[in-house]
């Protein structure tokens, strides 16, 4: 073995080179009150005691609330087979294999995931997946900057404000100009979302044409389930389509793990971030799978790599693939129809509020209530409902505005009960 960790001398040399006296000094940017003061941990507990403690903590969750919250992640049905298949030992890995040729099954599942995303979006290529929806938007923006050699990224009001924050955080030190609106002049890309954060459905075909006329790209953040009813990114002429893939068989969790989807057109593929599985033939002519176009990646291109992403969200990508296979085309379209029809039904029951969307919606809409939305949400929680997202804390609406999402899981009784509870909480 030739690998030897750094010696104290080497460490001192490196610190001197960057002009820092000690390793601790590297952490000076963290405010003192946020730094760990001591490792004063309690005594260890027995397995039995730990189980009891964790169960007690878990019971404080409101796990039985019926959720009308969305804003990027949704309470969709997940067939039991998704868990059963993804938990098999042969599949159970978070990562792309680092010796891909040894893991043909994993590579095949990634290849099939990519193929499913291509069919879903109408784009030419999808990568092996990214972390989640927000970072996928950032990766698309960075890709557009590489493709156009332009420094301006224009963010449309339709984009999820949380995704915008992620883009701003990632680009804070990249010297990019982040602008608002939809003017593609001099821009690397315009980033839009469909349906919008508030749920409004738009057709961005004309904007795609304007972008291309100005030498810019159109990046679209889409909601995979909605493609069962809506025009695909491919049909709109989008250059880079990204999404949060949670709706495709991944349970709701605070902090994930979720799934970042990224798909693009053939001419842009050399600048695409992330891993890419491909089909090939071995020396005997048998079908096999490899990772391809790896010269884009960090282990070969070093500091000039397209991204620091050098793995993927393999297990979540597998979940979404199994979900899509179980649903099939008809099932997938049916889920979308249910989502839309049930949301329309609920909308019709909420006449005490004002729907704020200025166009058609898919399964989510913004409602202006006669009273503070956070207060209303707290009230209906006692009756077993997670009412939705109050918009004011996200800077996306007034104090009275609530974002409500409906999935195929809601029954007519659910919807009637929720409409009644919301009416009482908002009006009495």
């Amino acid at each position: 073995m030739t690998w030897i960790p750094t010696t104290n001398e080497e460490r001192d040399e490196m610190l001197a080179a960057i002009g820092v006296a000690s390793i601790d000094e590297l952490f000076d940017v963290i405010p003192p009150d946020l730094r760990l003061k001591s490792w004063d941990l309690p005594e260890g507990l027995s397995e039995m005691a730990v189980k009891r403690l964790v169960a007690e903590m878990g019971n404080r969750n409101c796990g039985s609330l019926v959720s009308y919250a969305g804003g990027g992640v949704y309470d969709h049905f997940i067939p039991a087979a998704v868990d059963a298949l993804t938990s098999r030992g042969e599949f159970y890995t978070a990562y792309t294999p680092y010796q891909p040729e040894c893991a043909q099954g994993t590579l095949q599942s990634i290849y099939e995931y990519q193929s499913a995303i291509v069919r879903l979006t109408g784009m030419d290529f999808a990568n092996a997946s990214l972390y989640e929806g927000g970072t996928a938007v950032f990766e698309a923006a960075a890709m557009a900057v590489r493709l156009t050699n332009r420094q301006r990224v224009v963010i449309h009001e339709s984009l999820n404000p949380v995704y915008r924050q992620v883009v701003e955080t990632h680009t804070a030190h990249l010297g990019l100009d982040i602008a608002s609106g939809d003017d593609p002049t001099g821009a690397a890309c315009v980033i839009v979302q469909n349906p919008s954060f508030l749920g409004t459905v738009r057709d961005f075909t004309a904007l795609a044409e304007r972008c291309h006329a100005a030498g810019a790209l159109l990046v679209l953040s889409f909601y995979p389930t909605s493609l069962g009813l809506l025009k695909t990114p491919g049909e709109m002429g989008v250059d880079i389509a990204v999404a949060e893939g949670q709706c495709l068989g991944i349970p709701l969790g605070f902090g994930g793990p979720y799934l970042g989807i990224l798909a693009t057109r053939k001419e842009h593929i050399r600048k695409m971030p992330g891993r890419l599985a491909a089909e090939t033939a071995d020396a005997q002519g048998r079908r096999g799978f490899v990772l391809t176009l790896q010269a884009r990646e960090q282990h070969i291109r070093r500091e000039k790599a397209m991204s620091n992403i050098c793995s993927n969200e393999a297990l979540m990508a597998l979940r979404s693939l199994i979900y899509l296979c179980l649903m099939g085309k008809d099932g997938f379209l049916e889920v979308a129809r249910h989502c839309h029809a049930k949301a329309e039904y609920l909308k019709s029951k909420l006449d005490f509020g004002t729907v704020l969307n200025d166009g058609p919606t898919f399964n989510e809409f913004a409602l202006r209530l006669p009273r503070n939305a956070e207060e209303v949400a707290k009230r209906v929680m006692d009756q077993g409902y997670f009412a939705g997202l109050p918009l004011a804390p996200l800077g996306a609406g007034e104090e009275t505005d609530l974002l409500i999402a409906v999935t195929e899981k809601r029954t007519r009784e659910d919807l009637d009960g929720f409409a009644q509870a919301l009416r009482e909480a908002a009006c009495n």
Binding site: N149, R270, A295, I300, R301, K304
Partner: protein, 132 residues
């Protein structure tokens, strides 16, 4: 392996060649030695026409089955033309590195800068020395 390096070209330690094609224009490519070391070239990324390059600036990139490398401008100049044929036929870099496999052409090149580079003979010796 003994390679014949064309006498009318000049060479760099980064294994690029540059040579006049007439009208004050100079073509740039990678040497037969570089192409052989890279193995089968699968993709070539070329600079934008009109881009001004400083001497030693990363101007293009070449990917092979084995590696990806930058190609540097051997002399300063402005990109006058790129070899678009490499897009669909990158194997030309292996087949004819000093001819059809050229990467881009530069205008506004200083003859003095060109002359300052290694001659075919010097480059052959340089390669031999570094091959051991």
């Amino acid at each position: 392996m003994q390679t014949d390096y064309p006498k009318e070209l000049r060479y760099t330690e980064e294994h690029e060649w540059v040579g006049p094609v007439g009208g004050g224009i100079y073509a740039v490519g990678i040497t037969a030695h570089a192409a052989e070391q890279l193995g089968d070239v699968t993709y070539v990324e070329l600079p934008e026409v009109g881009r001004a390059l400083a001497r030693g600036e990363a101007a293009a990139a070449v990917e092979s089955v084995k590696a990806a490398s930058d190609v540097y401008a051997p002399v300063a100049g402005k990109v006058a033309e790129i070899n678009g044929a490499l897009e669909s036929a990158p194997e030309m870099v292996n087949r004819d590195p000093h001819g059809e496999g050229w990467f881009f052409r530069l205008s506004g090149v200083s003859a003095q800068e060109f002359e300052s580079l290694m001659t075919a003979e010097q480059y052959a010796a340089f390669v031999q020395e570094h091959e051991g």
